[in-house]
């Protein structure tokens, strides 16, 4: 009788490990063996409590297996791990379940994208979300699909918006309660951005928040004339969630057209903003706009990371972001109140940030027909690449691109479904951009250390309780830095550009590291 009861308990444990409950997601930080949601936990820390791989052992880190996806294009996926499997997405509507021990393919999902798709930046995808025995991913033609995690079979697919009008989708969804929360891409085509929530069981849309305020709505006065109709404001990365406040935090992208601000006078809400939404209704609780009336394509889609910290002697529930405009920001996440900001790269477009958080803009640096040099460049000081926070060091880690570009502008009429940026930018050959990994004290904005890199930033971050920060570079290196000092402790040449964040988990009790590199997934563990 006892043996039978033990068998039932063991089977229950195995079954539980093969599915992801809402409670599992809330407790994700306390489950270092798995990686259940995009940012490791709802707060977006990308930090693991695992310590087997640490500053003393990391030199014994060696490759375990390499899975070649066979899919061309940039792999930006942040894998999920549970139930003895790794779930990864690839470009062009591909996805895989991999055996955690060998990397062997368990199943492969593929749906051919529609022909003639107009898009900004490639057919990449950044990962799955999970709930129960289901996986959720966005397809490039702006659909959300639910897959059976056991087989990869499609359970339902919902069209979020019309891809023929320029709407696409690339981000990893975020599961909150029984909803799948997603963003879209396509601001470069004069679309109107939104954040959607869908019922995880049925795929029915529960709510939508439009990131462009229409005429007559609050914020609609920040758009001249009817310019809001093509206002952009994509939401192409993944937000974070505070279960206690029941608020979802999500960054929004540039206004459209990106480089000609004359046709859209005003602040252009809610572009280049962080919005806090009620998770049940999608209603706006507060917003903070980092770059009002942006003319340099400085999205605010970088990770909004939730940290409780002491600021000037006061404990604050904060949200922090390394923004594309070159400033690090800290806000009170209960109400959106500005706390502080600090530049982390060379900035020429603003003299600073005022007491309310609004940039003090240097006049005359809008894009022009003859070209205007501005720092940072269009890719910004920090782009979408996932960031990390370590509760051990209390430092916030992110990569930077340090450089300038020349911005051009012309007049461009809007044509539905066509590129609508009203010009472009060029790099400056005599001033090649470089990169760095930064460790910033989020409570002050002070940079504690930097690890300079030869090339601009390309990959995401992972911090571990082993005192390490893992990241990659555009030349194919996966590297481990000392989280306290930035000293490089280990590196491995993967053979392919790294454009994704590393993750960590355990297999048979041993800590593993995984990363998408080139068109492969590579895992690492310590040699005995």
């Amino acid at each position: 009788m006892k043996a039978a009861a033990l068998f039932v308990m063991l089977m229950a444990a195995v079954f539980a490990a093969s599915t992801v409950s809402e409670q599992n997601l809330r407790d994700a930080q306390a489950d270092p063996a798995n990686w259940l949601t995009y940012g490791k936990n709802y707060l977006g820390w990308r930090s693991s409590d695992l310590t087997e791989i640490n500053t003393k052992t990391v030199l014994r880190l060696t490759p375990q297996w390499i899975h070649q996806t066979g899919v061309s294009g940039q792999h930006e996926t942040s894998p999920l791990v549970f139930g003895g499997k790794m779930f990864v997405t690839g470009p062009s509507n591909n996805a895989f379940a991999l055996d955690l021990l060998t990397g062997k393919e368990i199943w492969h999902y593929h749906k051919a994208p529609p022909a003639g798709l107009n898009m900004c930046c490639g057919e990449q995808n950044r990962g799955f979300a999970a709930l129960g025995d289901r996986l959720f991913k966005l397809n490039i033609e702006a659909t959300l699909v639910a897959l059976d995690a056991r087989s990869g079979a499609e359970l339902w697919e919902r069209q979020m918006a019309d891809h023929r009008k320029g709407y696409t989708a690339t981000g990893a969804p975020l599961v909150v309660k029984n909803k799948v929360v997603v963003g879209m891409a396509g601001a470069e085509f004069g679309t109107r951005g939104f954040i959607d929530a869908y019922d995880a069981a049925t795929g029915e849309r529960v709510w939508r928040f439009n990131t462009i305020a229409a005429k007559g709505e609050p914020g609609g006065e920040t758009w001249a004339g009817d310019s809001w109709e093509h206002g952009g404001g994509s939401t192409w990365t993944t937000g974070t969630y505070d279960p206690e406040l029941n608020l979802i935090y999500w960054g929004t992208a540039n206004p459209g057209p990106g480089l000609d601000g004359d046709v859209r006078g005003g602040d252009n809400l809610y572009t280049d903003s962080l919005v806090a939404l009620d998770a049940d209704t999608g209603k706006l609780k507060w917003y903070f706009q980092f770059t009002p009336h942006d003319t340099h394509d400085w999205d605010a889609v970088e990770d909004p990371v939730l940290i409780d910290m002491m600021v000037k002697g006061r404990k604050v529930k904060a949200v922090v972001q390394a923004n594309r405009n070159g400033f690090f920001y800290a806000l009170d996440r209960t109400n959106g109140q500005f706390l502080h900001a600090a530049p982390f790269t060379k900035i020429t477009w603003a003299k600073g940030i005022d007491a309310k958080g609004r940039p003090i803009v240097v006049p005359g640096l809008d894009p022009s027909e003859e070209g205007t040099k501005v720092c940072p460049g269009l890719g910004g000081g920090h782009h979408w690449h996932p960031t990390a926070y370590s509760p051990q060091t209390k430092l916030f880690y992110f990569n930077t691109t340090d450089g300038c570009e020349v911005f051009y502008r012309n007049k461009q009429a809007f044509h539905e479904g066509q590129w609508y940026q009203a010009s472009t930018e060029t790099s400056i050959p005599s001033e090649p951009s470089a990169g760095a990994v930064l460790a910033v004290d989020p409570a002050t904005g002070e940079t504690r250390w930097r690890f300079d890199m030869v090339t601009p930033a390309s990959a995401g971050m992972l911090s571990t309780a082993g005192g390490l920060v893992f990241t990659g570079d555009g030349q194919g290196y996966l590297l481990a830095l000392d989280a306290k000092t930035g000293k490089p402790l280990w590196h491995f040449q993967t053979g392919g550009r790294i454009s994704a964040p590393p993750i960590t988990y355990t297999l048979n009790g041993k800590q593993q590291i995984a990363i998408a590199a080139g068109t492969s997934i590579v895992t690492f563990a310590l040699m005995p």
């Binding site: 066509q418 090339t455 570079d473 030349q475």
Partner: protein
């Protein structure tokens, strides 16, 4: 490329065609200088062939020049000879590695966060772990001498440019 059919009027299409035609090269009709004398300079006094290849002959340190007369304007060629640092492609930047014993290795190649691969002016290839080096820097400065205006007379410069313009690929005629 976006399809413009239906978005542009007929007259606008022809305006674009006219503009593109205006970009075609019209600058090589009356080049001063002697092509044959320029070729001698290239392989002799100018020592250009030590670093540049043309028609499968010459060095590999600098850009390959077999089709340079077809691909580059007269003004660009002249600027490249006289002021090679004005428009330097990053792959031709100078990398200087200093070994721990003080030995300097200077050349072009590849530099990443952990290693450096350098080919020096003699064609020697090196690959280093940067942790083994005392220092390693890359400067946006060409290894090519920037004093050809002193090394060569103005007429010789014209001869050299004339030769470069004549490099239009195997079997090509001007």
């Amino acid at each position: 490329m976006v399809a413009f059919l239906g978005d542009l009027k007929e007259e606008d299409i022809w305006r674009i065609v006219a503009f593109i035609r205006s970009l075609a090269r019209h600058d090589i009709q009356d080049i001063p200088g002697d092509r044959a004398a320029g070729e001698k300079l290239f392989w002799g006094k100018g020592a250009c062939g030590g670093c540049h290849a043309g028609n499968s002959k010459g060095g590999r340190l600098g850009p390959e020049l077999t089709r340079v007369g077809r691909e580059r304007s007269l003004a660009f060629l002249r600027e490249s000879v006289l002021t090679p640092n004005n428009d330097l492609r990053p792959e031709y930047a100078t990398i200087t590695a200093v070994l721990r014993d003080g030995t300097r290795v200077v050349g072009v190649g590849s530099l990443d966060n952990f290693t450096a691969q350098i080919t020096d002016a003699a064609g020697n290839y090196y690959s280093f772990s940067r942790s083994d080096l005392a220092s390693c820097v890359r400067e946006l400065k060409s290894l090519m001498p920037d004093n050809y205006s002193q090394l060569l007379k103005p007429a010789e410069i014209d001869d050299l440019i004339s030769y470069l313009v004549s490099l239009r690929g195997a079997g090509a005629t001007r």
